[in-house]
Structures are given as C-alpha cells and as structure tokens.
Symmetry: C2
Subunit: 221 residues, 2 copies
C-alpha cells in the first residue's frame, strides 16, 4: 500500500474537529519527549496527564485516526508517533516561503524546529531593497516581485508571513498569486484570501489576554 | 464605581470558555481595524464575517460580558472595545519579563505590539555571560540568577519564555520562584509549574500541522 492509498483510508478533514488537530500537536510533542527519555509504552492516563487533558479526550482524539491502544498494555510510543504524523500528513517535507525578513522573520529562519519537523523554509522574500540580496541564515533574500517564479521553481506550498501589520495583506496577495495552498500569518491582523487557501494565525496576544484575564480574576478572589 | 468594583460584577473566569477568550482577541483586533477605518457602528453579521465566525457565536461570546448591541443599530465600535478590554483586564499595564535573549527573544523585545497592548517587557534575562550586560532594544540583559530581585523591583507579573527547548523548564522554575503569576511559553515543549501559575503555549507547529493536514486532504480529493 502506498502512502497515498494509506491516506485515502483515513477520515476526511471535515470530520475531525480543529481542537483535535491542535491537541494532536501536543500529543506528538509529549510523545517525542517520552521517546527521548527512553519510554517505549504509555497508557492513556499518564499520557493525558503529561498533555494537560483528560484521558477520555486523548482516547477520543486518537480514535479519529485508528485503533492504537493495546488493552492492558497502552500505546507503543514510537508507533503512535509514526501513525499520527502520517495521519496529519507531516511525515514528508513541506517546502515553505517566508515573507518579511525583519527581526521575527530572521528568528524564524534560524529556528531549528522548522527543518526538524519537515517544514523547510526554502525561500525568503522582502520588498526592502536594502535586504534583497542579503544572505540570512544561509538563505538569499529575494525581491517579493519574484515570488511566483521562486515558488514554482522551489515547489513551495506554504507561505509564512512575518511582515509588519500593514504589509501583511499585500504579502498574502503575493503568496496567493504565486500559488501557495496555505498561509501561516504571524502579523497581528486578519488577512483576506480566496476560500480555497488555508490560513492559520499565530496570535501571541490572545494568549497574553488569557493570562491577564485569569490573573485578574484570581486577584479579585 | 472603581475599576475593581466594576470587575467584581463581571462573571468569574471559570464560566467563560477558553475559546471565547480566544475569539475575544480576534474581535478586539477586528474592531480596532474598524476604528482605524472610521467605522463607528457595526452589526453582528458584518462583524462576524470579518472575524471568520458566525453571528450567533459573536452574540453568545459577547453576552458573557454584558449587553452591548443596540437593537436596530448594532454595536458602537469604540465603546465595545473599551468594554471588552476592561472585561479581560487588559485596559491597564501588565509588566512582563522575557527569558532567553536569542533571535526570537530579540524579535519579541522589538515587537511594537507588546507595549502598544499594555504588555510592557521591562526585564530581559539570559544565562549566557556574553549576553549579560548587553543592551537589546533599550533593555539591559540581566543574569537569570537575579530574576527574583528584578521581578520584585519592577513589579513583573508575567514571564515570557523564549529560550531553546532544553532550557525552558529551568526558565519556568526561575520565573515561578521569582513570583510571576503567568507564563507565556514560546519554547516547543511542555513545562511543569505549580497549579496556581497560568501557562499559555505559543505553538507555531500545531498551526503548520493544521495547514499540512488540510492541504493533504484537499490534494486527495
């Protein structure tokens, strides 16, 4: 059975709640830590505890992707990681392009996890003539106007926006015109794209708001 | 009525779903864009559309915090922002400390939104002797061992971890010992803290996984 055939037997995305996908990332992170600690098998209770969710939630989330637990034994850690990464489609390389080589963009270009997790940043774009041609962490900064050519040449499918807020929409337009299928937006603003393009927002501030809200409530007790 | 009295009349955090707090951040972001475009009043349908949620969800989320809409008119944009920021406890300054002055830490120190949104980074810590004493974006990098002293002196309540993965737990321990009430963790690992400390994780990868998963599903159609 090829990879594609395997994927075809998996449930369609519409059946899987967004929150499950989000928790899957946590499960994978925790399972990888377990592997590095030499743990080979884990039952759902300690796995749930390490992930800050309850055990029935873990079982329910995993059930979307197949039957993994062995009664009286638990989950085989390495095999569960392999199954989950395959189910998510992250057991392959994803070629990505970053737009906006400022402080945050540079930090992302140098972030070891992107390559480690298969999200290879192979293109770096900026519209600032002082940045174009510069080499940042081994990657040459290319003029945003050349995006389509580079996206085709390098087989880029995902764009990462790290521009200032006011340039995010234009960056998104360039990425869409160049043919990427998904966008990860770090700029603190909503962007408008055609319906067939997936957009994910990395919003630090909703996390800070949640902290502020919880602390405020505690202080009033 | 003082600010504290106002807050006391608000519902307790346990009654408000986490997802609502998350969406509130989006509503505030969109409402602020509307203000900058000169919009004074908006009804829930276009507000919902701009936020990528449905109108009944918007009404339900806002209802946790009071009655804001005016029948036949809609929401007064500026007044709604003021009410929501007050309800979240973000209409005041929050003093924060950043631990780990690498690429990502430097990008955060220079990120204009933190100060703009009242989350003022007033302390920068690192354990690298080559970084200690250096001034980064106007802030002197202080030795992590001096954290307690600085947190007390500067009235810091929230810690931001931007260390490499393997140093995140130690950074968290320093922050907890120094007396912060909440932690925003950018390092891609779970951290262990006492129950009364709030932790939020900024995880780029779950967003990338969601993109990869959705694109993979589309490609199979």
């Amino acid at each position: 059975m090829t990879g594609t055939e395997l994927m075809k037997s998996l449930p369609k995305s519409k059946h899987i709640p967004r929150a499950t996908i989000q928790r899957l990332a946590i499960y994978i992170q925790v399972l990888e830590t377990l592997v590095s600690e030499g743990v080979e098998v884990i039952s759902s209770d300690p796995l749930a505890k390490a992930c800050d969710v309850n055990a029935s939630q873990v079982r329910k989330d995993l059930a979307y992707f197949g039957e993994f637990g062995v009664r009286g034994v638990g989950y085989y850690v390495k095999s569960l990681i392999a199954s989950l990464t395959h189910a998510l489609g992250i057991d392959r390389e994803w070629r990505t392009a970053l737009v906006g080589v400022g402080n945050l963009g540079k930090a992302m270009l140098n972030h070891p996890e992107f390559r480690m997790r298969g999200f290879n940043i192979v293109g770096a774009f900026d519209c600032d003539p002082f940045k174009i041609g510069e080499t940042v962490h081994g990657l040459e900064v290319v003029c945003t106007r050349r995006m389509k050519e580079k996206v085709d040449e390098l087989g880029i499918e995902i764009g990462i926006i790290t521009t200032p807020t006011e340039r995010a929409q234009r960056a998104a337009q360039y990425l869409v015109d160049a043919g990427v299928k998904g966008i990860l937006n770090f700029a603190p603003t909503r962007i408008k794209v055609p319906e067939h393009i997936y957009v994910e927002y990395v919003d630090f501030f909703h996390h800070l708001y949640a902290l502020a809200f919880n602390i405020t409530q505690d202080d009033l007790k």
